[in-house]
């Protein structure tokens, strides 16, 4: 039985938001951090609170902490030492293994998330821009009362038009393949692989291999918590569109190349089910747009290239123990919309997302290290994920066609990492425990 009253809403549900703001914070004094947290407690939605009032609510708040942030709140060293090593080290120290080198190196991140002074994030999603402004003003008033809580940076989130469905700045339909947790009351769409044990995503529950790992201590801090890997990925829309135009002679050819890079048409229609031409109705239908596999349907990658984005991020029936590698993804786009035909204005736009899982090393880091950035994934030899892999201009992308495969050499980087961090996402009981750390009673 999942503790819907205690689990933060973002783990199981998605806010119906068009706007939002991430606020990255540093605590100069433990008491200041705890005072901020105590005031924020009433704003944070549990799963139950979210579901009960989603029709009326206009804003949804999540709070999470880095390992340094837990220390900055006053968590003792003995407890801090019980957290997994990868979380203790943080994303910056793990950067070489994650592929965050070259232009993606933490030295080039723009939001101070690489700083050891990063302690917390407040994630605000709002139904519209007006509500964001109201909530932001309210939060700034709170910060004015919490001397010693500094804002390191903020990031405003904006959905990109058309607003009828979620998509990124490249135009790809988003939020198509999300795991469904056993006991969450959600029904898994066809082809999604069924429900997964809660322990894959939430600490304190059985996972796909059994009772789950030993938890960070004390139990009240870890139970119903999870880990969030934050990634701010700038999307180079001009570079992407130039690449399509340079390699496709007709709009149809350009669309096909875009589809091959992703493994889906930009409508969301999977190439396994629509290999020749787009099918927008298929792309929009959640009961059909995930109902496919690779081992029998497309073993050689004639539809979905072996190195395409979706085949890497969810190899489905071609990966061992796939249920132990799944991740929940939340987030939104940021930056202004760049209409088709408009030259790139050089401003940053992209996706700022959270990968939520119970084990950063087994889930998020495996995906980054093996699926995204292993040049020899599926024996490809010199490729990385064409959408979000670390591309330095020396790599390739191939897609099988008869009689011979088509290969792009010197693939440009369509995205760059501009920020990132590991956070612990406590349950509401843990938030109350943290806020009361100075008061043993």
């Amino acid at each position: 039985m999942l503790d819907f009253d205690d689990i933060q809403y973002i783990l199981l549900t998605r806010a119906p938001a068009l706007n939002g703001r991430y606020i990255f914070l540093s605590f100069k004094r433990p008491a200041a951090g705890r005072a901020w947290l105590a005031a924020m407690l009433e704003k944070v939605h549990s799963v139950k609170a979210m579901r009960d009032a989603v029709a009326q609510d206009k804003r949804w708040v999540t709070v999470a902490f880095t390992w340094n942030g837990l220390r900055a709140l006053g968590v003792d060293e003995a407890s801090l030492a019980t957290f997994p090593e990868e979380f203790r080290q943080g994303m910056v120290e793990r950067a070489p293994m994650l592929g965050d080198t070259g232009t993606n190196h933490p030295d080039n991140w723009v939001d101070k998330t690489a700083s050891p002074d990063l302690h917390a994030i407040a994630v605000l999603f709002t139904r519209d821009g007006d509500e964001r402004m109201r909530a932001t003003i309210e939060h700034e008033k709170l910060l004015a009362q919490c001397v010693g809580v500094d804002v390191l940076s903020t990031l405003d989130l904006e959905a990109t038009p058309p607003f009828e469905y979620a998509h990124d700045h490249f135009g790809y339909r988003d939020r198509l393949s999300q795991p469904v947790i056993e006991g969450s009351c959600d029904a898994p769409p066809l082809g999604s692989g069924g429900t997964l044990k809660p322990g894959e995503f939430i600490l304190g529950y059985e996972d796909e291999s059994g009772p789950g790992p030993v938890l960070p201590q004390p139990d009240i801090l870890s139970r119903n918590g999870s880990y969030m890997a934050y990634r701010r990925l700038a999307e180079h829309v001009g570079t992407f569109r130039d690449f399509l135009r340079a390699n496709g002679q007709t709009p149809e050819e350009q669309e096909l190349i875009a589809a091959k890079l992703m493994g889906r048409w930009r409508s969301g229609a999977p190439l396994v089910l629509a290999p020749q031409r787009d099918d927008a109705a298929l792309g929009a239908d959640p009961q059909r747009n995930n109902n496919f596999n690779y081992k029998e349907d497309d073993p050689h990658g004639y539809a979905v290239p072996l190195g395409s984005h979706i085949r890497r991020m969810n190899p489905r029936d071609t990966a061992a123990n796939i249920n132990r590698r799944r991740m929940i993804r939340r987030g939104a786009t940021y930056g202004t919309y760049l209409p088709d035909g408009t030259p790139d204005d050089g401003t940053e736009r992209g996706i700022a997302a959270f990968v939520i899982c119970s084990s950063l090393i087994r889930q998020f880091e495996f995906a980054q290290n093996v699926w995204v950035n292993d040049k020899n994934f599926h024996e490809l030899g010199n490729e990385r994920d064409p959408i979000m892999g670390n591309q330095d201009g020396t790599l390739e992308f191939t897609f099988p066609t008869r009689p011979i495969r088509k290969k792009f050499t010197g693939l440009p980087a369509f995205t760059s990492v501009r920020g990132g961090a590991y956070f612990f996402l406590p349950g509401l009981g843990a938030l109350r425990w943290l806020a009361a750390l100075d008061n043993p009673n």
Binding site: P84, N321, F366, N376, E379
Partner: protein, 190 residues
């Protein structure tokens, strides 16, 4: 266009001398569980040597029969490990029995550590490791402890050689399939 004048890497046998400790100090690649031993002309691999718990020798022979049966029943059961070869050896030192486990892989073991742990559990092969001194009792739910044991008992090579360097098992199998297909085609041409 391909450069046909260029000699393919696999056609030239190669040897690699490896510094003491197993790493080239100026190019250590980091994996999720620590530094990765370098790829050599003999691909990736490990050599684990550990002392067995006294009196447990028969369990290793039973394990060998179990693994033989598991592979016979499901020939691709070890596919996830991306293997070329595995060798298991028992040998005595001063009256005590030691176990050597040597594998040649196409990928560093770090990448698929959790898959290996899961594999050993699902195939019922747990007994062989549990009969080694110092092996963590909670290895099935504690991948870092499993990795720590493996790393502490790894004896890195100081020299490796490949007759066909850097060729993966999949490439070899592809070449053999192609050869078989050509033979088949030639049969049809008679």
């Amino acid at each position: 266009m391909s450069d046909t004048s260029k000699q393919p890497e696999w056609s030239k046998p190669a040897a690699m001398a490896i510094p003491k400790g197993g790493f080239f100090a100026d190019k250590v690649e980091q994996g999720r569980y620590g530094p990765i031993f370098p790829k050599t002309p003999a691909s990736y691999g490990f050599t684990i040597i550990a002392k067995i718990i006294p009196g447990r020798e028969p369990v290793f022979y039973e394990y060998a029969r179990n693994l033989e049966n598991a592979v016979a029943g499901q020939p691709d059961c070890l596919a996830v490990l991306k293997l070329h070869y595995l060798r298991w050896v028992l040998f005595p030192i001063k009256g005590e029995i030691y176990f050597m486990y040597q594998g040649i892989f196409d990928t560093d073991f770090d990448k698929y550590t959790e898959d290996a742990v899961a594999l050993f559990s699902t195939l019922g092969l747990r007994t062989v490791f549990e009969n080694l001194e110092g092996f963590p009792a909670d290895w099935q739910t504690n991948a870092p402890a499993f990795v720590k044991f493996v790393r502490e008992h790894q004896c890195p090579s100081f020299l490796e050689y490949g007759e066909y360097p850097f060729v993966s098992a999949e490439e070899i199998k592809k070449a053999l399939r192609l050869k078989a297909s050509f033979s088949n085609m030639l049969d049809h041409m008679q």
